[in-house]
Structure formats: structure tokens, C-alpha cells
């Protein structure tokens, strides 16, 4: 086999592998992209009919003070970006840092009754830490106060 043919082989092989990989990546991105919405955006998207009941997304904001109700393993709470709110129901162990008044991100989808059914509530690892998405949502709502 001449060096030229070898190079052709190599090139074809690499292109094949990369093509398969690209196809996999594109389909996966299409199906598995999870958008992040604040309560205000949820309302907007609902109004624009962009958000069906089965569409999985991440909801972020603050856990409204006084909204947490526990009933055995089921927890109900309200997520707010200080302008709009979304009710959330979650069955499972909450992360250790879940607190009223603190930032939270929940992944799941809206139920038919408009209550967000969380399949996962994400743990944040630091008490002083605000997820950037949440901080942005609150800033966008015009309610951000710098803390020191």
C-alpha cells in the first residue's frame, strides 16, 4: 500500500468516525437540552405556548419564605424570582442546603395543574453561593440587592 493510499484510508476512517460522532451529538443535543427558566420566563413561555406539560426544564429562583410544606417524603414549596412565583412539588430527599429564602434549582416539568413536578432538586454546595442563573433571574426582575 502506498503512503498516498494509506493517507486516504486514514482520512476516510477519521471522517467516518467524526461523522458518526457528529450525528450522535446533534441528535443528543436536540433531544436532551434542558433550558433554564425563572418564574417570570415560565409565565412568558407559557403565554407564547413554548412550554408544553412534558417539556423538561430547570426552574430557578429563591425558595419563598414560609412556603415549604412537608408531608412525609413529599415537599411542596414555591419558587420566586421576587416578581412571579411557581409552585413546586417534589418527592424525595432535599439537598442539605435547601432553605427558605435561599437559591434553588429544580429540574422537572410542569404538571397539568400548573404545578412544577421536580424530579431533581439540585444541591448547592455553599451557603453564600448563589447560582449565577438564579442571580441573573433576580437581577432581570429588577430586585437584586448587593450583599456583602
Amino acid at each position: 500500500m502506498t503512503p498516498k493510499r494509506r493517507r486516504l484510508w486514514l482520512l476516510l476512517g477519521s471522517l467516518g468516525v467524526l461523522g458518526v460522532a457528529a450525528a450522535l451529538v446533534l441528535t443528543a443535543l436536540n433531544d436532551n437540552l434542558v433550558f433554564f427558566y425563572s418564574p417570570t420566563q415560565v409565565e412568558q413561555k407559557l403565554a407564547e405556548k413554548h412550554l408544553g406539560p412534558d417539556r423538561r426544564f430547570r426552574l430557578g429562583g429563591l425558595v419563598e419564605t414560609g412556603s415549604v410544606q412537608k408531608d412525609g417524603q413529599t415537599v411542596r414549596f414555591t419558587v420566586t424570582d421576587t416578581v412571579k412565583t411557581v409552585k413546586v412539588v417534589y418527592r424525595g430527599l432535599l439537598p442539605d442546603l435547601f432553605r427558605e429564602g435561599q437559591g434553588v434549582i429544580a429540574e422537572g416539568s410542569l404538571g397539568p395543574d400548573g404545578v412544577f413536578v421536580a424530579r431533581e432538586v439540585l444541591a448547592k454546595h455553599d451557603e453564600n453561593y448563589m447560582p449565577p442563573e438564579v442571580a441573573k433571574a433576580i437581577k432581570d426582575a429588577g430586585q437584586w440587592k448587593e450583599r456583602k
Binding site: 494509506r6 467524526l18 450522535l24 434542558v34 412537608k70
Partner: protein, 648 residues
């Protein structure tokens, strides 16, 4: 006084690094022996100075010197000694100092063990190492000085993030950094080779031990991080495709590719420019990982730094290292003449396939990790790319990689026949098909893909061991070269990791239940009873501890005591899971919130083969170390063949 000493030696180290980064380069270009000799002593001096700075910071932590801002922010006098020490690198400034220290130590190691390198190559390698060091030392001194004082000194500190107060995580950063920074040496070798304009078998033989050592440490570091996530986060999972995990996986994949392509350069004098490119990419990905983790662009436990100046500095540095390296590569690589020819079906061909697939994997991970960043920059949409994406892309590309992995070692160099190689693997093939069928019929008939993946794991283990079978038959097992033995161990260990992760993620059983003391439940054939929940006092936390007695068939089997700890200084709660393992499965329990009136939330998992994940990863690194101990890499200073034409 001592913190100032540390600060001062850091400044001196920067000065030394500047000298080490310039004069030996000049010396190598001019053929000036004295300037080249400077590289060695400068590397040793720099390592000593950074070590002194690191010692000074450690001393401040151990003695809880709260006049140092960094100690105040990350330590507390009531913390156990181990975590006072690990607190040194449990924060942004300290971890960057650790990075600079390891970089300087690697430089010193090249100076000490590089006696058999040609003078020009060694001085160039040391100079490149020093230039990287200049970047990191300047970063420390100008944006993240760990020795900054506070006045007046507070009475006590804020304490270390409780999640980090864990033996697994105390050693995770040093191991990971040994891996990341180890690739700086291969990067320096690649740049030096491009400057010299020659890459040959001798070069590959000098580079391979460094790549191998870095890879082993990176493997251990990643495994330790994953183990920590498994038992501290309490979700029963071991890999979450978190951007930070991905950040360490990318250099690992590129490094693995580098290890394999360097073999082709060494044995067959081919794939030279590709190997050089991989060396540049592996270190660039290490730096990218550092940038992603440290700059705060990603949401993660590791993102300490929220200061944009720091992110910008690392980004600029990343561009200089990657861009500079690639530009030099584009300019000089065409001079690297390829050597030996080979057929597509050959050992070389198999190693190329390995490289192709590993790099595709790394690219996939890179894309999935950076996509949310780009989308945010371009459209302002916030998205997350989670496990489903990686399961749909990463896993399918692994299949051909694993399939080919066992065949490659049976192929000869230059040209080979696929038939005889496959024939020698027929037993392995049969065993793995049987394993997949058994998994499908006995364990879970609905999970076809899991059974298939399980079959792949068995194929890796048995197929790798098959290359020992011939040696056992001919009685030459004792004389097996360490490098070959290391390869067999590492390949089989990868199979063990695959088996463990497939079994845990596909066939685990989990149950969540609210229980009051005295309640009983049955779980996966076990009888679990909550005996009591009591309060106890730790050194810097108070805890609630549940006692669960587990019985099987009416007989007591084991007792599990998961805890919830409240760290009093930070007012933070951490779950401490209880895990009982018999090496075939983990019985895993966590204690959730609750009280005596309502009961406590208890979560139970039965994770089959979970310990194999970390056992396999440790074995994988062991394989690397065995290969590293091959005498071929240590003695017999390889001689360079004379160049056909002068390099410069």
C-alpha cells in the same frame, strides 16, 4: 513574619523562573553550555523557593494564624489537623499555590532525572516549564496572593467548606494536580522538540514516562473525586457529568491517547507530528479544566473564584499556551518526517483507531461542556447539558473502542491478519456473549443495553487476560516485560470499571421511606429496622446518627449508622452516608431530615458491583505504575540517530 517570608520567596521564585525561562533557551540556540547549565540549577532553586512559600502557608494554617486573610476565610481553630493541612489547598489561592508547587517540582524532577537528555533538549524543556511557571506565579502574586494579611486579626476563622472536610477530598486535589501538571512536562517536551525540529524514537522514550506518570496520577485523582461524590453527596451515583468532572475527564482522554501514540513513535518512528499535537492538546485541556473550574464561569462546588480578573488572566494564559503551542506546531510540524509505513490492519492501525476514538470522545465531552457557555454568550439562553446527552454520545463511541481494545495487542507491527487475532480471542468472545445473555435473562430482561454493556466489560477483562494465556502455556509468564504486564493490568482494569459502572447504574435497587424508631421495612431481601436516632458531638459539628440494623433470613446481618452533621461554624448540614460493602455490592444508607414525631426520611440503596468502579480505577493506575517501572524506561540511555539534515 513567616507569611511575609512565604510571600517573598514566591516573588523570588518568579524572578528565578523568568531567568530559567529565557537564558537556557538562548543558550540552546547559541550552543552556549554555561547558559544551558543554568536551567538545571534554576529549576532546583525555583522548586526550593516555591516549596518554602508553600511551607509558610501550611505553617499559617497549622498554627491557625488568623492575621492571614486566606486562613481566616478557610480555616478554624477547632478543625482537625488533617483538614487544617488540606485547607491549604481547599481554596482558590492555596490551590493555585499547590499547582505552582507541583509544576516547580516537576521541573526539578526533569532537572534531576534528565541527565541522559541531550543538553539542548533538556534546557529547552526546563525553559518551557519555567515559562509556564512564570504564568502561574504571576497569577498568584498579582491576582490571588495567599499571604495577604488582615488587620485587626479576627479571633477565629470561617472554617473550611464542610463538604471538603473529608479524607477522600483532602488528597483529591494534589493527585489531580499531579496529573494536570504532569502533562506540562510532555507539553514542554513537545515544544522543545518543535524548537529543535526533531522527534524520534529516543524523544518518545523520554516523554513516555512523564506522560505515564501524569496519567496514573490523573486516573487516581479522578477516581478519588468520584468516590467522594459517591459517598458524600448521598445520591448513590458516582459520575454526574458535571462540568467539573468533565474538565478532568478531557485531559485524561487526551492523555490516554498520547500514551498510546507515543508507543508508535518509539517503536515505529511514525505518528510523530500527531503525538506532538496530542501533547500540546493534553496540557491545553488541563489548563482549560483549570480555567473552567477556577474562573467561576461554571456552576460548581469547585468554583471558588468569582473574580473576573482571575478568569481573564487564566483565559489569556490558556490562549498563550494553546495558541502559542499550536502556532509553533503549524510552523514546525511539517518538518517532522514520518517514518515507518504500515498497513491499516496492524498494531499501528489499531493504535490510530484508539487515538481517533479517544479524541472523538474528548471532543464530545468538550462540546457538551462548553455548549451551554456558547449558547449563553450568543443567545442569552441558559441551558444545561446533562447526563442524557453524554449517555447518548459518549457511550456509543465507547463501544467500538472497547471492541477493538482487546484485538489491538494481538496484531503485529507493520502488517497483520485480523483472522488469527480474532481466533485467539474466541474464548473471550464466547465468555462475554454468555455473560451478556445471563445478564439479560437472570438479572433484568428489560435492560438489553445494560446487558450488552456488561458483555463489553467481560470482553475487556477476559480479552485482555488472553494475552497472558499464551505466556502461561509456553511458560514465559515470568519473563513478561513490565510494560506488557502493565498494559494487560490496565486494560483488564478498565473492564472492571465498566462492569462496576454498568451494574451500579442499571441494576441498583433504591427505596426511600419515612421511618420512626422501631419501624421495620423489607428491602431487596433484607429486613431493615430503625433502632434509634441519637445526637452526638463531633470536633467541629453536632450530628444526628441513625442506627439501622439489617437482618437477612431472620438473622442479624449488619448495622448501618448514617449521620447528618451540622457544622456549627458555617451552619451547614452534611449527610454522612453509611456504606457496608462485601466487594460485590454496596449496602448504602443515608439519613434525611426528620424528627421524633414525624419520623426520619431514610434512603436505602443496593448498588451491585459499585466497589469495582474504584477498585478498577486503582488497578488501572497500578497498571500504569507497573509499566512505568519497566527498566527499558529507566536505563540504557537511548541514543539518537544522526539527523539527515540540520534542524536549524
Amino acid at each position: 513574619m513567616i507569611p511575609e517570608l512565604g510571600h517573598f520567596s514566591l516573588i523570588l521564585a518568579l524572578a528565578v523562573a523568568l531567568v530559567q525561562g529565557t537564558l537556557p533557551l538562548l543558550g540552546a540556540a547559541r550552543g552556549d553550555d554555561r547558559l544551558m547549565a543554568l536551567g538545571r540549577s534554576a529549576a532546583l532553586t525555583q522548586a526550593f523557593l516555591v516549596l518554602l512559600a508553600f511551607g509558610a502557608l501550611t505553617q499559617a494554617y497549622v498554627t491557625s494564624d488568623f492575621s492571614v486573610a486566606n486562613v481566616v476565610a478557610n480555616s478554624h481553630s477547632a478543625k482537625p489537623l488533617l483538614y487544617k493541612i488540606s485547607g491549604v489547598w481547599g481554596n482558590h489561592e492555596g490551590s493555585m499555590l499547590l499547582w505552582a508547587l507541583i509544576l516547580a517540582l516537576f521541573g526539578a524532577a526533569v532537572a534531576l532525572f534528565g541527565a541522559n537528555l541531550p543538553d539542548t533538549l533538556r534546557s529547552r524543556v526546563l525553559a518551557i516549564q519555567a515559562l509556564i511557571g512564570v504564568g502561574f506565579l504571576a497569577f498568584l502574586l498579582f491576582t490571588s496572593n495567599p499571604f495577604e494579611r488582615v488587620f485587626p486579626a479576627p479571633a477565629d476563622g470561617n472554617g473550611l467548606n464542610p463538604l471538603l472536610q473529608d479524607p477522600g477530598l483532602a488528597f483529591h486535589p494534589p493527585l489531580l494536580y499531579l496529573g494536570y501538571v504532569g502533562f506540562s512536562v510532555t507539553y514542554a517536551f513537545a515544544i522543545a522538540a518543535l524548537l529543535e525540529g526533531r522527534v524520534d524514537a529516543a524523544w518518545a522514550r523520554w516523554v513516555r514516562p512523564w506522560a505515564l506518570a501524569a496519567w496514573c496520577f490523573l486516573t487516581l485523582g479522578i477516581a478519588l473525586g468520584s468516590w467522594w461524590a459517591y459517598y458524600i453527596l448521598g445520591w448513590g451515583g458516582f459520575w454526574f457529568w458535571d462540568p467539573v468532572e468533565n474538565a478532568s475527564l478531557m485531559p485524561w482522554l487526551a492523555g490516554t491517547a498520547l500514551l498510546h501514540s507515543a508507543i508508535v513513535v518509539e517503536k515505529r518512528d511514525a505518528l510523530k507530528s500527531w503525538t506532538v499535537l496530542l501533547a500540546i492538546l493534553a496540557f491545553s485541556l488541563s489548563l482549560l479544566g483549570t480555567f473552567l473550574v477556577r474562573s467561576g464561569v461554571l456552576t460548581s462546588v469547585h468554583a471558588f473564584a468569582q473574580d473576573p480578573a482571575r478568569g481573564l488572566f487564566i483565559l489569556a494564559f490558556l490562549l498563550a499556551v494553546t495558541g502559542g503551542g499550536l502556532a509553533l506546531y503549524a510552523w514546525r510540524a511539517p518538518q517532522l518526517q514520518g517514518g515507518g509505513l504500515f498497513q491499516p490492519v496492524s498494531r499501528e492501525g489499531a493504535l490510530i483507531l484508539n487515538n481517533l476514538l479517544l479524541c472523538t470522545l474528548a471532543a464530545t465531552v468538550l462540546l457538551g461542556t462548553l455548549y451551554p457557555l456558547f449558547l449563553d454568550l450568543l443567545t442569552g439562553n441558559k441551558v444545561s447539558v446533562g447526563p442524557p446527552f453524554f449517555n447518548a454520545t459518549f457511550v456509543p463511541i465507547c463501544a467500538p473502542l472497547f471492541a477493538a481494545l482487546c484485538v489491538g495487542p494481538f496484531l503485529g507491527w507493520k502488517r497483520a491478519e485480523l483472522g488469527p487475532a480474532l481466533l485467539r480471542l474466541r474464548v473471550a468472545f464466547l465468555v462475554s456473549v454468555v455473560a451478556a445473555v445471563v445478564a439479560l435473562t437472570v438479572i433484568d430482561s428489560r435492560k438489553t443495553l445494560a446487558a450488552l454493556a456488561f458483555g463489553f466489560g467481560v470482553w475487556l477483562v477476559v480479552g485482555s487476560l488472553m494475552s497472558l494465556a499464551d505466556r502461561i502455556r509456553t511458560g514465559t509468564l515470568r519473563t513478561i516485560p513490565r510494560a506488557t504486564l502493565g498494559m494487560v493490568v490496565a486494560h483488564a482494569a478498565l473492564g472492571i470499571v465498566v462492569l462496576g459502572s454498568v451494574a451500579t447504574s442499571s441494576w441498583n435497587v433504591e427505596l426511600m421511606q419515612v421511618m420512626k424508631p422501631g419501624d421495620r421495612i423489607s428491602f431487596a431481601g433484607y429486613d431493615v429496622r430503625l433502632d434509634r436516632v441519637e445526637e452526638l458531638q463531633g470536633p467541629n459539628y453536632i450530628a444526628e446518627r441513625a442506627t439501622l440494623s439489617v437482618g437477612v433470613g431472620g438473622k442479624p446481618y449488619t448495622i448501618l449508622q448514617p449521620e447528618r452533621r451540622l457544622f456549627t461554624v458555617q451552619r451547614r448540614q452534611i449527610s454522612e452516608t453509611a456504606i457496608q460493602t462485601n466487594l460485590l455490592r454496596d449496602f448504602y444508607a443515608t439519613l434525611g431530615e426528620g424528627d421524633a414525631r414525624q419520623g426520619w426520611v431514610i434512603r436505602l440503596y443496593l448498588n451491585p458491583l459499585a466497589p469495582w468502579i474504584w477498585l478498577g480505577a486503582a488497578l488501572c493506575a497500578l497498571g500504569g505504575f507497573i509499566s512505568l517501572s519497566d527498566r527499558r524506561l529507566r536505563i540504557g540511555a537511548p541514543s539518537r540517530r544522526p539527523l539527515a539534515q540540520p534542524a536549524e
